[in-house]
């Protein structure tokens, strides 16, 4: 009796996440879609003017802003992140690894508001001195956002580089390539789908980032014309105005959230598509959840242990 009861309790707990996501979709789409219809799908998504005072709600500048900033973050973050991951997986000794790994984890744990303050008081003045203007621009936002997505990219890239069988590396060495060449030509390309998954995850982070961005992106509601222009993102638009918005204005902000939600859902499904491909290949099977008797990398720091032996 008790056994049955508890099984049902556990089952119910498992269903909670399904229920949550259904309710979430209902609430967001339920209040967003009628609004978008009211404003007009085309006018809302492709309207270049956002002017709540005149009842004009076009979010194209924000969509474009989000995309620009995200692309910028990828350009800044991916090379540094990937190279750092390669260094961690294949170049550094265990002593240094014990410093860098916790540092990357700490980086992931630092709240975005702190990054925002750092950007506002360090990066913005530097940009102002270098390029003139206010300093709050797409470029500034890209740099800060690139820093913020580093841990995501480093951790996924490192895991997937480590998952490449040692034989790839050894084979390349045996053919006479140097250590560096083997790593860059044989190992890293073999890890590309994992790295791609990390990049997609990073895109998701970047597009959803809010608090740091509103402090340094400038928040102009017009279409940006250069990377030195200030820009407002979808997320920024919601936070900036929801405090005082009423009626259709408020609904339009929620609809902005819905557009963001759809963006994220698309990115998420891209991620699981790439990830699925990754776990289908046998090399990463050992990392998958299903394998028993083996604590997963993320919590045990298995890699550290491996290096320490």
């Amino acid at each position: 009796m008790k056994e049955k009861l508890m099984k049902i309790v556990f089952l119910a707990a498992a269903c909670v996440s399904i229920v949550i996501i259904v309710i979430m979709c209902l609430f967001l789409f339920g209040s967003g879609i009628p609004t978008i219809k009211e404003i007009g799908v085309f006018d809302f998504l492709f309207g270049k003017v956002w002017s709540p005072g005149n009842n004009i709600y076009g979010i194209l500048p924000f969509i474009v802003g989000s995309i620009y900033v995200t692309i910028g973050a990828i350009i800044v973050g991916v090379p540094i992140g990937l190279l750092t991951a390669i260094y961690m997986a294949k170049f550094c000794n265990s002593k240094l690894y014990r410093i860098i790994k916790p540092a990357v984890n700490l980086m992931a744990g630092i709240p975005s508001i702190v990054y925002g303050f750092f950007g506002l008081w360090v990066i913005v003045p530097i940009m102002r001195d270098l390029f003139g203007g206010g300093g709050k621009s797409i470029l500034t936002a890209s740099i800060l956002l690139g820093i913020m997505i580093l841990p995501t990219i480093i951790n996924t890239a490192e895991t997937s580089i480590r998952a490449v069988p040692e034989s790839y590396y050894e084979g390349s060495l045996a053919l006479g390539a140097t250590h560096e060449r083997s790593v860059f030509v044989a190992v890293v390309p073999a890890a590309k789908s994992g790295i791609l998954a990390g990049v997609i995850l990073g895109i998701g982070r970047a597009i959803g980032e809010t608090m740091a961005l509103i402090m340094i992106a400038g928040n102009q509601t017009v279409m940006p014309t250069s990377i030195f222009n200030g820009v407002r993102t979808l997320t920024g638009n919601i936070v900036m105005e929801i405090g005082y918005a009423t009626d259709l204005h408020r609904d339009a902000l929620i609809a902005t959230g819905v557009v963001l939600f759809v963006f994220i859902l698309i990115i998420n499904s891209l991620f699981s598509l790439v990830n699925k491909k990754e776990s289908d290949t046998s090399k990463t099977k050992k990392l998958s959840l299903r394998k028993k008797h083996k604590a997963p990398e993320s919590i045990t720091g298995q890699a550290v242990e491996r290096l320490g032996e």
């Binding site: 949550i20 540094i80 916790p102 702190v114 936070v239 963001l260 997963p296 919590i299 720091g301 242990e305």
Partner: protein
């Protein structure tokens, strides 16, 4: 297995090979080696710079007034925010941890492999994990604050945060449960224990460190969260008198609000110090627990 040994050997091999063809090979490899070193240096350098900057700017502004019990317009005390943060962390964990653990137990111990429900739960948790906090904030605002009539309140904020951290609690618990050796379960069944008793007396206790590290990470996220709480818990600068049904701000929201009002940057930096010290402690704890897990595994 022994990468470090491997590396040394390769280094020797490289040197022997490189020396004769000094010009061509060395330059490429040399460049690459320095490139990765520089990248790693940049990464660590940014972190060190960021922490150093906040500490240097903030520590001179830490004083007794900053930790006084009351927030007044002249004195942006962080104390009410610290108390609110503790309340919100507590409330959120009370909601998220039991559901997360229960769900993980079902997924690992009860569900059959390839179960459709399991797949569905996995997809939904993955989706939940990828949703940015601002969308959670909007949802919490629409559902708890408006629909359920909770207004801006600590409980509304905690409920939204619980939804946000649920996937990570679930995942780490699941991983911890999967890491428990099957022989434990078999031993327990062999001694005549039922499923439930096996789960609670044998499997869960040995998975505690893993679950704990997940919970610690969740605490880190709650402490650092801003966007969700602005919509759901409000930005009131005092500990609410009406308890968990009143509005209040956490440390991170306090920091944002100081920026937003744009008047007391010193207090903003000092808040940054409080926040960053908390995050470092939380991360250190997570590392400690993680190390304990790997040590435990070695002895097994």
């Amino acid at each position: 297995m022994d990468i470090s040994v491997n590396e040394n050997r390769n280094e020797n091999v490289n040197e022997k090979r490189i020396k004769p063809k000094f010009k061509v090979k060395l330059s490429g490899s040399f460049l690459l080696r320095w490139l990765v070193k520089i990248a790693a240096f940049i990464t660590v350098g940014i972190l060190v710079g960021l922490i150093a900057y906040i500490l240097i700017m903030g520590i001179p502004n830490l004083n007794a007034d900053f930790f006084s019990w009351e927030y007044t317009p002249d004195n942006c005390s962080v104390m009410p925010a610290i108390i609110n943060t503790l309340i919100i962390v507590g409330l959120t964990l009370v909601m998220a941890v039991p559901i997360g653990i229960g769900s993980a137990i079902y997924m690992v111990e009860y569900a059959k492999r390839g179960n459709r429900l399991v797949k569905l739960v996995r997809v939904t948790t993955e989706t939940l994990a990828g949703i940015p906090s601002i969308v959670f904030g909007l949802f919490g605002y629409l559902c708890f604050n408006v629909q359920m009539g909770l207004k801006y309140s600590l409980i509304g904020g905690s409920m939204t945060l619980a939804i946000m951290v649920l996937p990570s609690v679930m995942r780490t618990t699941e991983e911890a449960l999967l890491a428990v050796n099957d022989s434990y379960r078999e031993g327990s069944f062999g001694l005549g224990a039922g499923k439930l008793r096996t789960v609670f007396k044998v499997v869960l206790p040995s998975a505690v460190p893993g679950i704990l590290s997940g919970v610690i990470l969740a605490i880190g996220r709650i402490v650092g969260e801003t966007a969700v709480l602005i919509f759901t818990a409000g930005t009131m600068a005092a500990v609410p008198e009406s308890g968990i049904f009143g509005a209040g701000r956490t440390i991170a929201v306090h920091m944002y609000q100081l920026f937003n009002e744009g008047r007391d940057m010193e207090a903003g930096y000092a808040t940054g110090v409080v926040l960053i010290v908390m995050v470092i402690i939380i991360n250190g704890l997570a590392n400690l627990v993680g190390r304990k897990i790997s040590k435990g595994k070695e002895t097994k």
